[in-house]
């Protein structure tokens, strides 16, 4: 299979910079071998690259539709039946028995598989022309280098920190900022005072808030506190004076009344 470029240029062309180029170059060699076996002597470079691209897309499309068939059947691993269905979908020119595809419910008798077996038996083997550098061996060497992290498997890169110790964290249920899962929050569990934290950032809203009511005129009785003192300023009026919310929590009721009176105009 000759190309119109000289050999020197074609050798430098084969250096790939990333994984996709590498696999594309290998596929190009395989496709050119297939074209040679069919009978072509030469090829335009663009035509060869186009055919390679089509071949890779065909492969990927076959895999994708096979995966979607298996996922539709609640499986993650594809089997022969998925692949056969995918081959049926991918066939553009049609095959024998395509009109009665699901009548007898037997996928394994499909003519696509028969065609493939005929192809295998009739066509001579074309071994791949060049040796491929094995990527797997390189990965294995890296894993062997550090034995400490082998227990967490080769799929986790070594430069990542190790997993935190799960055992020692079991006693600690509280998070730093007082965050909790919603199911465990006091509002769901029924307003228990066990989970009431005293440390509270002044700028953040309280978790247990009373209902907010708004009035335009100002004055008059406001929201009733539901029994919590101190940290629930935010549950009070939301009037023209929003600054009231951000004051420090007032603990005595007198102070609250004082604030209340101030607003009456």
């Amino acid at each position: 299979m000759k190309k119109s470029k000289s050999k020197k240029q074609s050798n430098t062309q084969q250096e790939a910079t990333n994984v996709e180029e590498f696999s594309f170059n290998i596929t190009k060699i395989a496709v050119s071998q297939i074209c040679k076996s069919v009978g072509f002597k030469r090829s335009q470079i663009l035509a060869l690259e186009t055919l390679t691209l089509v071949a890779t897309k065909y492969l990927e499309a076959l895999a994708k539709s096979s995966v979607s068939f298996s996922n539709a059947a609640n499986r993650t691993q594809s089997n022969l039946l998925d692949l056969t269905n995918a081959l049926h979908d991918m066939s553009q020119v049609g095959f024998r028995g395509a009109s009665t595809l699901y009548d007898n419910n037997c996928l394994l008798k499909s003519s696509v598989l028969e065609d493939l077996s005929a192809f295998v038996s009739s066509t001579a083997e074309i071994p791949f022309a060049k040796p491929i550098e094995r990527a797997k061996e390189r990965e294995m060497e890296k894993v062997k280098a550090s034995t400490g992290n082998l227990q967490r498997g080769a799929h986790i890169p070594e430069w990542l920190p190790s997993f935190p110790d799960v055992v020692s964290n079991e006693k600690c249920n509280k998070r730093v900022n007082g965050e909790e899962l919603w199911e465990n929050s006091s509002s769901v569990l029924g307003c228990q005072s066990d989970g009431f934290e005293e440390k509270r950032n002044p700028g953040k809203l309280a978790k247990e808030r009373a209902r907010v009511k708004f009035r335009i005129n100002g004055g008059g009785k406001r929201v009733q506190l539901n029994g919590y003192s101190g940290n629930n300023l935010f549950s009070q009026t939301k009037d023209e004076e929003p600054e009231a919310e951000y004051k420090k929590p007032i603990k005595s009721k007198e102070n609250q009344n004082r604030v209340y009176k101030r607003r009456k105009l």
Binding site: I34, Q44, V54, L62, A63, L80, V120
Partner: protein, 136 residues
Amino acid sequence: MNHNPQSSDGKHDDDSTLSDFLGSLMDYTPTIPDELVEHYLAKSGFQCPDVRLIRLVAVATQKFVAEVASDALQHCKARQAAVVKDKRDKQQKDKRLILTMDDLSKSLREYGVNVKHQEYFADSPSTGMDPASRDE
């Protein structure tokens, strides 16, 4: 996947032909290497521990490419047969079976792939025109 139970004889035939086929797959080495196929399958999310299915995918792709290439070859030969003037020219052209974009796009169109290739690109509308007729 469920399918209706067949007669036992039919099922044995299917199974035996299939197992023979899958066994023959292991003997046949597809042109596309296994690692390459595994790379593309992994890229698409295909998971299968069975090597025979990977070989099946490789064989299916090889068959597809071979069919496209043979269709392009027939287009090429048909074109040469139309152009032949005398015996000498025909012999010369038989040796030069070149896969061109033209033949490839014609054969790919039958398989649902539309490949359109620009003949040439010109840098201005008056490129290649007769200088006398150009507007200056």
